[in-house]
């Protein structure tokens, strides 16, 4: 039965997908292909669409695959089941296991993990910016349009905080960058 398959398949994805959407893609591929829901080529296209639409990639992909297999009910089931493990985990760890979470041992481990995640996020951001400014990171050929736009957007975003009281919000930056992308290509 397709609904049950979708539920179990995406529950597996939600349960075992560590390290963000990109780390999860091999797992998603395995699940989707083993059930024979869609082919490899279609999956690659769906991943690209999921990246280019708002929302977490993993969830977009679940909605997409679910709706392609069983319409709106399929989309609902696949999306719910991929979300369910995260929903439960965070509440169990931070609310139900609050005492354990605050024990000296867990806190000692967290003292290392917190700066570590900051470093990971910093490196990911820096890498994404560089990746965008160079066509190819190995021979360092610069994409001039992207570099100018990165500098301009960075200056607007960080500069606005110095000049205005509140500065431009992240949502504002997303909006400006989308319009700038369209305008730059239209010129």
């Amino acid at each position: 039965m397709i609904y049950l398959d979708l539920f179990i398949g995406f529950l597996q994805v939600g349960l075992f997908a560590f390290g963000g959407a990109y780390g999860a893609i091999p797992l998603i591929r395995e699940v989707v292909l083993s059930y024979g829901w869609i082919g490899d080529e279609m999956l690659t296209y769906m991943i690209a669409v999921s990246e280019s639409t708002p929302g977490p990639i993993m969830i977009n992909l679940a909605t997409y695959v679910g709706s392609s297999q069983a319409g709106i009910p399929g989309a609902l089931i696949a999306t719910t089941s991929v979300i369910l493990p995260s929903f439960v985990f965070i509440l169990v760890i931070m609310v139900a296991l609050k005492k354990v979470f605050q024990s000296i041992w867990v806190q000692a481990a967290l003292r290392g993990m917190k700066p570590c995640i900051i470093g990971i996020i910093l490196a990911t951001g820096a890498y994404m910016i560089l990746e965008h400014c160079f066509f190819n990171l190995s021979d360092l050929s610069v994409d001039l349009t992207a570099t100018i736009m990165t500098v301009a957007l960075g200056a607007i975003y960080f500069g606005s905080r110095k000049i205005l009281k509140k500065g431009i919000s992240p949502i504002g930056l997303i909006g400006i960058s989308a319009i700038a992308g369209i305008v730059v290509y239209a010129l």
Binding site: P56, L110, G112, A126
Partner: protein, 185 residues
């Protein structure tokens, strides 16, 4: 406005503008839920981020669920999570039902090219804000720099090492430092 409606609308807005994975969302949560609404503190957000990264599933869901729960218990958790997911759910349904060539539409591709740049800046900014709130002297900074350098090399050389390995390693080192410190006392 009731808190549940506020949670729903706030997370729907965040969901609508979250592109390119969970890290970019951190920046939106910092801006909206911490600085504007005061729903959670920077410290709590740091805890949520660590737990989110160490457990499976999308970071975005962990954040929405936790913030919702802190405001209004289970109902808040459900409402915030549904709010976060709803915009992308509807957009994907629309695309899968009506658009076979979504990615070939020129202006969408160009807009997304621009958004990708913004996403890099937002992720970088999320880390900067966290660094500014960091406590505890030199040791955390060493952890941070080591993790950043390792992650950068992993990205550049496309190594198949997950970020979770770095997290585990730093947990082990940090625990060892703590235990050695206790032994000495």
């Amino acid at each position: 406005m009731g808190i549940l409606l506020d949670l729903f609308l706030t997370f729907a807005k965040i969901g609508l503008f979250t592109f390119g994975g969970g890290y970019a969302l951190i920046s939106l949560i910092q801006d909206t839920c911490i600085e504007k609404k005061g729903w959670i503190s920077h410290d709590e957000m740091m805890d949520v981020t660590v737990v989110a990264e160490s457990t499976p599933g999308p970071i975005a869901i962990n954040c929405a669920t936790y913030v919702g729960y802190r405001q209004k218990g289970m109902a808040g958790a459900v409402v915030a999570t549904v709010g976060l997911v709803l915009p992308s759910f509807l957009i994907i349904l629309l695309i899968s039902g009506f658009l076979d060539n979504f990615l070939e539409i020129a202006w969408i591709a160009h807009a997304f090219w621009g958004i990708k740049i913004a996403v890099g800046i937002l992720i970088f900014d999320a880390a900067l804000r966290m660094i500014r709130k960091m406590k505890g002297g030199l040791l955390p900074k060493i952890f941070m720099v080591c993790a950043a350098v390792s992650m950068f090399l992993i990205n550049i050389f496309s190594l198949r090492i997950s970020a979770i390995v770095l997290m585990l390693a730093s947990a082990v080192v940090s625990l060892s430092v703590f235990m050695i410190g206790r032994e000495k006392k």
